[in-house]
Amino acid sequence: MVNDLGKKLARLAFEERGADFLLVMREEHGNVAPAMVSKGEDVGVVRLEVPYQLVTILENIYPWISKGKIAVITRRCDEKALAELAKRKYVDDKRIIKIGLACTEEQIERCRCEDPVPSHVDVGEPHAGVKGDELSARLAKMSQKDRLAFWVDQYKKCNKCFGCTLTCPVCFCDDDCVLEERTFVAEPSIPPGLSFHMVRSYHMIDKCIECGECERACPAEIPLLTMRKLLAKDMKEVFKFAPGDEKTVSPLNTTLEGELMEDECNER
Amino acid sequence: MPKKVVVIGGGIAGIQASLDLADMGYEVHLVEKTPSIGGRMAQLDKTFPTNDCSMCILSPKMIMCAGHENVTLHTYSEVEEVSGQFPHLKVKIKEKARFVNIDKCTGCGDCIAKCPVKVPDEFEQKLSKRKAIYLPFPQAVPRKVTIDGETCRMIKSGKCGVCKKVCQAGAIEFEQKDKLIEIDASAIVVATGFDLMDASALPQYGYGSCKDVVASLQFERILSASGPMGGHLVRPSDGSTPKKLAFIQCVGSRDEKMHKYCSSVCCMYATKESILAREHVPDIETTIFYMDMRAVGKGFQEFVQRAEKNYGVRYVRSRPAKVQPARGDKGVLVTYETRGLAGEQVSEEFDLLVLCPALLPSKGSKPLAKLLGLELDEDDFLKAKDMRHPVDSTRKGILVCGFASGPMDIPDSVAQASGVAARVAELLQGGG
């Protein structure tokens, strides 16, 4: 049986926007899991209260779907993630149909999300974002020494489960991540030490779209999202750049004059 | 058995010609009269219009040249005699005694530290002194010391020999004699470059009589981070930092009585040196006295505009009549005529005056031309064969490139040097 939400999404995707596939979260035998369907009657009982990053699923299955348009439920952060993936040619945005989902107030709270409303809301009630992150504020007041002490304590809890990288929608080398090796990660292996977290921080600095998946996935409850938010702020200050817009290029990909490194020959 | 080519002159043109010929597979013998290759470009601080550091871009080329399997360096050497005809030329090269076994010398410089004799340093344009045993400049290639027999006490009077005592490599050989070697060359390339006209030939400009009048190449050394002033812009008279700087263009060039031609590069290097001066002394005010601002190359006009707009360089079209010391022996008073028929004479004081003298074919080029049987043009540069062959001399199998063939900047010299390599290849292939 298909619930009303499922019917609505099916109509939006297949009838109104000409999708060939629909990627949703649906309930089966009491579990909610992602599902990819191609017909309205298969949609089933759709559940969107689970704040799961469907784009991460999309990224993983995309290579196996050679053609057809895919409709996917996208929160604001999903949109941004899609933009970052499209930039790197992981997905072809012409093949993606976005079905905008507005986050609930409670979800917005949890993500300390400043920018929660998708460009086009199809499902859910849009709510304004919240300003600032309480922990960031606290850290800002701390002395350098205490700040380091705080993070070292947090990072000591890390047991290197790689949940943060695996659930991250814009962390794309997850099969064989450099952090699993010794090259940049100092002994002892668990906890992995500071370089592990700093290297990941650097890798994320021009990609992270602040979805909060890493933090939710972290069994050690390290406030990973806060670190992302702090660095996102720095990135904005230094280079006026925020990930999530397909048009703006990461400053790491441009020269000082700002034009693309590839110069004119980037019709590749 | 590869054919041999002798390249005379180890400046940028000679280096480039050697590298290209060597890459083509010819056996190159590069003859340089000073102890190191590098030439004039090695003396420059920066290069216009990009202000690239000169040594940064030259030094790798020098090392590449010395290290090239097909290049043999004959530094501190001169061509003595050439006989035969293309493509069978016999070239006699005199390797002057440097009284140092360069196979043993490691360039460590212990000997230099201990040598008691101080003489004016040619590389530093006599702004500082070097020792009788010396390395012309830190990046010299080969990095081997040379004893200058003219001034070394041991050579002259048999008294001293400190260098020999301190040299742990046992490289000092006072008994060394000039060596003559002969090379069967198929072709010869002449790249003997330029010398600056001695500006004291024009007393009205005060060179030699006023302490604070320097020639442009001296100023280049003053600006250089590795120069005699350690990269600090100070004037000779009292070592103070100049606040008002002036350049006079066309000193002895474009001049009926001296040298009629235009030296081609002075407008640009004066502009460059003004910009660099501003970078050394943020509030310095620079004036350039010129006739025509000849900024004809890539990015040159923009360079001049930048100097004017962003570096406060003042361009005055006027040929100053006279220069005299300002106060005592400090600073200079420049007298020039202002624009227009009603233009009157004004005198202006400057802390430091830089003269841009005519750039002449190097002293060696006239005798060399005689020795090689080459014609000169009316300005004493080596004459080109004809329109079709701008890098051929008037004698078959002898090619010319760089400033020796006429005033030109570095890229033009480099292009000509490569062009010469092509001509050698054509000739040795049997082409005309």
């Binding site: 790197r88 040619k89 992981y90 794309f172 080398c173 064989d176 450099v178 090259t183 790491l252 990909n253 490194m261 590839e262 004119e264 020959c265 | 480039q16 290209d20 890459d23 083509m24 597979g25 990009t50 871009i57 090392i63 490691t106 460590c108 410089g109 212990d110 040299c167 742990q168 490599a169 474009r254 009629k260 235009c262 081609s264 004809v296 890539k298 040159f300 006009q301 233009g343 300005d379 080109a384 329109m387 079709r388 701008p390 890098v391 006429g406 005033p407 570095i410 033009d412 480099v414 292009a415 000509q416 490569s418 062009g419 010469v420 092509a422 001509r423 054509e426 292939q429 082409g431 005309g432």
Partner: protein, 562 residues
């Protein structure tokens, strides 16, 4: 497991007077995988090198570390020694304890000694991870393609064929000679351009190595140095030409005034090139005024086009020499007669009565038509007065500008242009006829407006450069190039964007995408290495494991010490 030998140089007392070499030798013996540590008075001397060679053989060393002076001058020497002893030269590591230690810490022997130890520990750590390298070689197609049949292209092609190299000359128009074809007499020697061009063309036509393609344009270029494929198209028919090197000599064109000084509206106001054609027809007007810098050295087109003053001087002289009573004036902002011959022209012109008037950008001249002919009103800066000049003809000296097809050609060859549409050489000072892309060369007015002799010189230069890979028959690349670990590569494309040499592309395998480096194009800067988030990009001789091991060695030794 590596067998490392460490050789420490006294450099006389240059090192030994400050660094306690014996102590350092003892320390080096304790480092992992070091089987022998030794010292020489002068490692670079014949005997020093000899003892190193013997030690390599005697101790079966497979990694060599020399601690002495700077690799920038001495590395080749020691590498050669390694090869003589049968060790791949890339298994050699240089540690600089002279310039970077003893010479800059002369007054602190103990700290200097400690530092030398650490530097050597770092070097040994890296050496342990060094791998033998083969310098990549690729073959070279012994054919050149010259694009552009003007003076420069003809010269380049003529030189190549004279060197015995098969050469294709591709010209879009139906005739050879380019702009020079419109000019009868060439300054400063007043020689006939026809003689020059005829000579070049006959040199080409007379050679079995030359193939001339008229009315032909290049439609595609693929490949890299030694192995290009140039697609040319003529009258709808297209042909693929394999080539080892490509020379670009597409030239420039004369700027056509957009109404300046009444051009187009006032009859008798013409451009220099139009005037050349008239002179060629033998018509010598009596009263001519040349106006310089028309459309150049002004906002939007700041540059000086280098050749226009000389052209005016030459033509002015032709007129006064044909008819001494002629009245010729040159209205200019600066006379750009640089060098010897041109300056001579300038002098002759003034001696023969050519009038020179100097105007400024802010007060340009004004041309009007009166019944008795044209009148040029000009404010002369030098004498600070307004002057009226009567003329039958006003010649506008306009700059050379880039051809409209320049950008397309640039895209085909993946080579850059400057803001005016002239091609951008690899280095404005020392690589004037090369592009950053190996195997592609630039010459003549396509790069920058050039005189006849400059065009010939550059054409020859480009020919020399192009001939080098062809003569050698192979392209050898030093083994400091980069490669992608395809298992780790996630094809994010950062490296593709980072590479300054267009050497990296994302390739598609049946099931996956990954980066691939074309080593013939890679210059070994390692920019891609640092841009790779997953350490998939590696540079030979500078792998992340090698450099990280150096950092580890530093940390280990430094932290123990304190």
């Amino acid at each position: 497991m590596a067998r490392i030998g460490v050789f420490i140089c006294h450099c006389g007392h240059n090192i030994a007077a400050t660094v306690n070499v014996e102590k350092v030798v003892e320390f080096a013996k304790t480092l992992p995988d070091v089987v022998i540590a030794d010292h020489n008075l002068y490692s670079c001397s014949e005997e020093g090198l000899g003892s190193i060679r013997k030690s390599i053989e005697k101790n079966k060393l497979d990694r060599i570390v020399v601690a002495a002076c700077t690799p920038r001058t001495h590395e080749p020497l020691f590498r050669k020694t390694c090869e003589m002893a049968g060790v791949n030269k890339y298994l050699f590591e240089f540690v600089n304890i002279r310039e970077h230690c003893s010479w800059i810490h002369t007054k602190e022997p103990d700290p200097a000694t400690e530092k030398a130890k650490k530097l050597i520990a770092m070097g040994v750590a890296k050496a342990g991870l060094l791998e033998p390298q083969k310098e990549t070689e690729s073959s070279v197609i012994p054919t050149a393609v010259v694009i552009g049949g003007g003076l420069t292209g003809l010269t380049a092609a003529a030189s190549l064929v004279a060197q015995g190299i098969d050469t294709h000359l591709v010209e879009t128009s139906g005739r050879l000679g380019g702009i020079l074809g419109d000019i009868e007499i060439i300054g400063p020697e007043f020689s006939r351009s026809k003689e020059l061009l005829d000579q070049l063309v006959s040199e080409l036509k007379g050679s079995s190595h030359a193939k001339i393609h008229l009315d032909t344009k290049v439609t595609a270029v693929s490949g890299f140095i030694g192995n290009f494929e140039v697609t040319i198209e003529s009258k709808g028919k297209s042909e693929k030409v394999p080539a080892g090197a490509i020379i670009l000599a597409t030239g420039a064109k004369e700027f056509v005034p957009t109404g300046e000084y009444g051009y187009g509206s006032i009859p008798g106001v013409i451009t220099q090139l139009e005037f050349e054609r008239r002179l060629a027809k033998g018509d010598h007007p009596k009263r001519v005024a040349f106006i310089q810098c028309v459309g150049s050295r002004q906002p939007g087109r700041e540059y000086c086009s280098r050749v226009c003053c000389n052209a005016s001087l030459k033509n002015a002289l032709r007129i006064v020499e044909a008819e001494p009573s002629s009245r010729v004036s040159i209205i200019h902002r600066d006379i750009m007669s640089y060098g010897t011959a041109s300056e001579r022209l300038y002098r002759e012109a003034s001696d023969k009565g050519v009038v020179f008037l100097r105007y400024g950008l802010e007060r340009p001249a004004n041309v009007t038509r009166k019944q008795k002919g044209l009148v040029v009103e000009v404010y002369d800066e030098t004498i600070d007065e307004n002057i009226d000049i009567d003329a039958d003809l006003v010649v506008l000296a306009t700059p050379m500008v880039s051809r409209e097809d320049a950008r397309d050609v640039g895209k085909l060859l993946k080579v850059p242009l400057d803001k005016y549409g002239f091609f951008l050489e690899a280095h404005v000072k020392l690589r004037p006829v090369e592009f950053a892309t190996d195997g592609v060369f630039i010459c003549g007015s396509a790069r920058w407006p050039s005189s006849v002799s400059e065009c010939i010189g550059q054409g020859l230069a480009a020919a020399a450069k192009a001939s080098i890979p062809i003569r050698r028959g192979k392209v050898v690349v030093e083994a400091i190039t980069c490669w992608a670990d395809t298992d780790k590569c996630a094809a994010c494309g950062s490296c593709v964007i980072a590479c300054p040499y267009e050497a990296i592309e994302i390739v598609e395998d049946e099931d996956r995408r990954y980066a691939k480096v074309n080593e013939a194009q890679c210059k070994g800067c390692g920019t891609c290495v640092a841009s790779c988030p997953n350490d998939a990009m590696q540079q030979r001789g500078f792998t992340s494991r090698q450099l990280s091991s150096m950092i580890d060695a530093l940390i280990k030794n430094a932290m123990e010490e304190t």
